[in-house]
């Protein structure tokens, strides 16, 4: 008698879930075999998050059945999911800032062992899979990329049999991403199934054996990503031809709108990066891309440019010809500076405020306040305008920041900052973790802003993005900035070498000071 084929690790049949007005998932069926790496593709609002939450037990489906290894199950909550062997790395991390890596993991695991024993296990798993994680560090010092590694290690410690990865590579270098793929392939060979959510189609083609494409809450297609072309998959997701980002013809050389002149700044926290002799010039109508892996001084550079940290010397940062190094964020905004920060909720937007008040957050200098009173009609109109122009999917201007998906929140923030018609826009990882459609819209907005005569400083870890839209590219590594090159006159390999060459292990602060002194 033939052995029957093993049942799928996870099978969903006819899953439907609707919220008040929106159907998030409609009749979704999906099967993931043991050891299979399965891609879940779809735009923001296609229903990926809801589906994943259903699998992880965070929300309950209205109708439909879930089978785990052939047995029908109801996943009542994340604990039940974890008990089955389902692990998940969320796109928005759930880490406590004030605790160490090991303490965070202990909380997630339910702390049945001492921190010492756990630390040893963390180090072992981290070593085995090549994930650089230091258990004793406090989370608030960690970059986004490092936090993600903590989340991954936390999942791996539970030896999951299905691992859900939500946009896992968006913060990794190409080398790190390759390393992660090795980890995932190794896990898959060991029999662990992986549900991989990403909008980077080339990754999905390199990694996944099967892909399910969602659009408008429905399954619109399945394919073998190793055979389908990126174009085909993208068009399946969008449901039409792929729009192409369009860069208007560059203007003649504009006036200088931002100068950073030999700016040095010591790190303000134990694991921070010191900035050393940073100089750059940004002209009207130009996009300057700053490449590099997070943790090499990006956070510090952006803070000192935005005014959240002050420069030691007023003249070392000049916005629109005014020495601005000692001015705070509000004063720099009055000079025409706008800023899209890296963190969306909690920094770029307030989770519990409605979108209208989130529009007010930085645009209050632009006619939305009169004699100290908020002009709610104008605020509402501004928020509605952002929602309409950037096609933000939201229940209206009264929807709270936390009710939006990451991509939609980001589109709203970009819309708000661009809408103030800034002379200089600082954009920190503006398309991190957002899907193709939103990323295109955001890049287009940056290009349009530059075309209208503003200078844009784009800090991104996504080299392809910088090459696509920036006029100049410079690399930030170990707190030093390479001289900018014209994008057309350099190559990914050259920039990669620049990133890798001086990037290696983070330069110790003391050694860096030595180098500065010697110079």
């Amino acid at each position: 008698m033939d052995a029957p084929a093993p049942p799928p690790r996870l099978a969903l049949a006819g899953i439907t879930k609707s919220y008040a007005a929106v159907v998030a998932n409609r009749d979704v069926s999906l099967a993931i075999g043991p050891g299979e790496i399965h891609a879940l593709l779809g735009e923001n609002g296609a229903g990926k998050s809801t589906l994943v939450k259903i699998i992880y037990g965070v929300v309950q489906p209205d109708t439909g059945a879930i089978a785990w290894e052939g047995k029908s199950v109801a996943i009542s909550g994340p604990n039940a999911a974890r008990a089955l062997g389902i692990g998940m790395v969320f796109q928005h991390f759930s880490l406590f800032e004030s605790l160490t890596v090991a303490e965070n993991i202990a909380l997630g695991l339910g702390a049945r062992e001492s921190i010492g024993e756990l630390t040893a296990r963390i180090e072992e798993v981290a070593r085995r899979y090549g994930l650089a994680v230091t258990p004793s560090r406090h989370v608030h010092h960690l970059s986004v990329g490092e936090r993600q590694r903590v989340e991954i290690v936390r999942c791996l410690l539970q030896s999951p049999r299905l691992l859900i990865m939500d946009e896992p590579t968006s913060v990794l270098t190409p080398q790190e991403a390759a390393g992660l793929f090795d980890v995932l392939r190794k896990l898959a060979r060991e029999g662990c199934s992986i549900l991989y959510i990403s909008h980077k189609l080339e990754e999905i083609r390199a990694l996944c054996e099967r892909a399910t494409v969602l659009r408008g809450g429905r399954v619109v297609g399945e394919c073998d990503p190793r055979r389908a072309s990126e174009q085909e998959m993208a068009e399946m997701m969008i449901g039409g031809a792929l729009p192409v980002a369009h860069r208007p013809a560059p203007l003649h050389e504009g006036r200088i709108c931002l100068i950073v002149d030999r700016l040095s700044l010591p790190a303000d926290e134990p694991f921070g990066t010191s900035l050393a002799e940073i100089s750059l010039t940004l002209r009207d109508g130009e996009i300057l891309g700053i490449a590099g892996v997070a943790g090499n001084g990006q956070k510090e550079l952006l803070a000192v440019l935005a005014g959240e940290r002050l420069a030691p010397d007023a003249a070392s940062v000049r916005v629109a010809d005014v020495p601005a190094g000692r001015l705070g964020p509000a004063a720099r905004r009055r000079l025409g500076l706008a800023f899209i920060p890296e963190e969306r909720l909690g920094r770029g937007a307030v989770a519990e405020f409605p979108l209208s008040e989130n529009a007010l957050l930085t645009a209050y200098q632009h006619g939305l306040v009169r004699a100290g009173m908020i002009r709610f009609a104008a605020v509402e109109a501004y928020a509605r305008d952002i929602i309409a122009r950037f096609r933000v999917v939201a229940a209206g201007t009264g929807a709270s920041g936390s009710s939006l998906s990451g991509g939609n929140m980001q589109k709203f923030i970009v819309g708000r900052e661009v809408g103030t018609k800034p002379r200089v826009l600082l954009a920190a990882h503006p398309t991190w973790g957002v899907d193709i459609g939103a990323a295109l819209a955001i890049r287009q907005a940056l290009m349009d802003l530059a075309a209208s005569g503003s200078g844009v400083l784009l800090v991104s870890e996504d080299l392809a993005e910088i090459f696509e839209i920036a006029d100049y590219i410079a690399v930030l590594s170990g707190g030093r900035l390479s001289p900018p090159r014209r994008t057309g006159e350099t190559t990914v390999e050259e920039v990669g070498l620049l990133m890798g060459g001086r990037m290696a292990p983070a330069v110790p602060v003391a050694a860096l000071h030595g180098a500065v002194d010697a110079a």
Binding site: L107, A111, A306, R333, F339, P341, G346, R347, V350, F353
Partner: protein, 348 residues
């Protein structure tokens, strides 16, 4: 959901106090009626309720605005006391000439006194990062000692038979009554006016927006360029000023003289009122009436059932305890871990 926990807390407190009465061997029904119903059954009782709610309301709105910005003014009691002291200094110094401006000067001096007392923690917080929870609380005790020193010493009424009290305010330094024959004075109108003003400040002005942003998301406030220090100053001066106004109204609308004990803990009870009212001025209006009822009913129990005045404080404590517990248990789930590092872990 957000209004469920104060209601729950009030119900649980009633149950708690009923058990307490039973344990003391008193008739719980009679005691409850004395505590909650008798004070509401007469015009006299109702005006007394308004009188007691006035300082609670003024102090609690200031405290609540501060907490919305994550600025914790625990020392309204001290600012209340300083308001009474500085206001009285003006009333005693300039009163008696029949000038119309004396009562205004008295009120403004009271506000200034409360603000000045709150300015100290604001300075300590913004210059030295000393947390206002500690400094405002400690300054309350300093204020009470200062009051004691004044009424026992330099300000003692020479014709007061050596009682520790000041001279009486002249009539021109007294607040007009709202209703002849009762003790309700126009300070109650100031307190009522603070409700819409507080709501407008928080909800419709840029200052209020800054306050809420600093409290809800400090990183977003920093990003938007809202100064944390300026917010600390605004909140402490505002709540200090309101507490100071409450303090001088209590004197100029009441006995018209300072004594060592001018407040049965209004400034502290107002903290409970602020949270019971969900840090919302309208909610605080209702919470202040409930708290005033507790004060009145407590006095009633003392008089008619010979129960200790500590009943009031006990019920206040129960209210706050149940409120905090309800908030925690509504938002979080308690999970006990079996292993050796057992403890309580929260699941969002």
């Amino acid at each position: 959901m957000v209004w469920l926990s104060p209601v729950l807390a009030a119900l649980l407190s009633v149950i708690g106090v009923t058990l307490l009465f039973a344990a003391l061997g008193r008739d719980p029904v009679e005691a409850l009626a004395t505590l909650f119903v008798t004070p509401l059954a007469s015009i006299d009782g109702l005006t007394e309720l308004g009188l007691k709610a006035t300082p609670l309301l003024l102090c609690a709105i200031g405290i609540a605005i501060g907490v919305r910005a994550d600025v914790w003014n625990i020392g309204a009691e001290g600012q209340f006391t300083l308001g009474a002291i500085v206001g009285s200094a003006v009333a005693l110094g300039w009163g008696g000439g029949g000038h119309w401006w004396v009562i205004l000067a008295t009120l403004f001096a009271g506000i200034a006194g409360g603000m000045a007392w709150a300015a100290v923690p604001a300075l300590l917080r913004t210059r030295f990062n000393a947390h206002e929870i500690l400094t405002t609380l400690m300054l309350s005790y300093v204020a009470i000692q200062l009051l004691g020193y004044l009424v026992h010493g330099p300000w003692k009424d020479p014709e007061g038979y050596s009682f520790p009290q000041t001279r009486q305010f002249a009539p021109d330094a007294m607040l007009p009554l709202l209703l002849e024959g009762t003790r309700l004075h126009i300070g109650a109108l100031f307190a009522l006016a603070a409700v819409p003003l507080g709501s407008v400040l928080l909800g419709r002005t840029l200052v209020g927006f800054r306050i809420r942003t600093v409290g809800a998301a400090p990183a977003a406030a920093r990003y938007a360029g809202f100064s944390r220090n300026a917010t600390v100053w605004v909140c402490l001066l505002l709540s200090g000023g309101l507490a100071g106004l409450a303090g001088i109204c209590e004197i100029a609308g009441g006995n018209g003289q300072l004594t060592p004990l001018i407040s049965p803990g209004y400034g502290f009870a107002a903290i409970i009122v602020a949270f019971l009212g969900r840090l919302n001025p309208v909610g605080i209006l209702f919470a202040s009436l409930l708290m005033a009822l507790l004060y009145l009913g407590g006095e009633g129990l003392q008089v008619s059932m010979q129960m200790p005045i500590a009943v009031t404080g006990t019920v206040q404590g129960m209210l706050l305890f149940f409120l905090l517990a309800a908030d925690v248990l509504i938002n979080y789930r308690v999970r006990l871990l079996p292993a050796r590092r057992a403890g309580v872990v929260t699941d969002g």
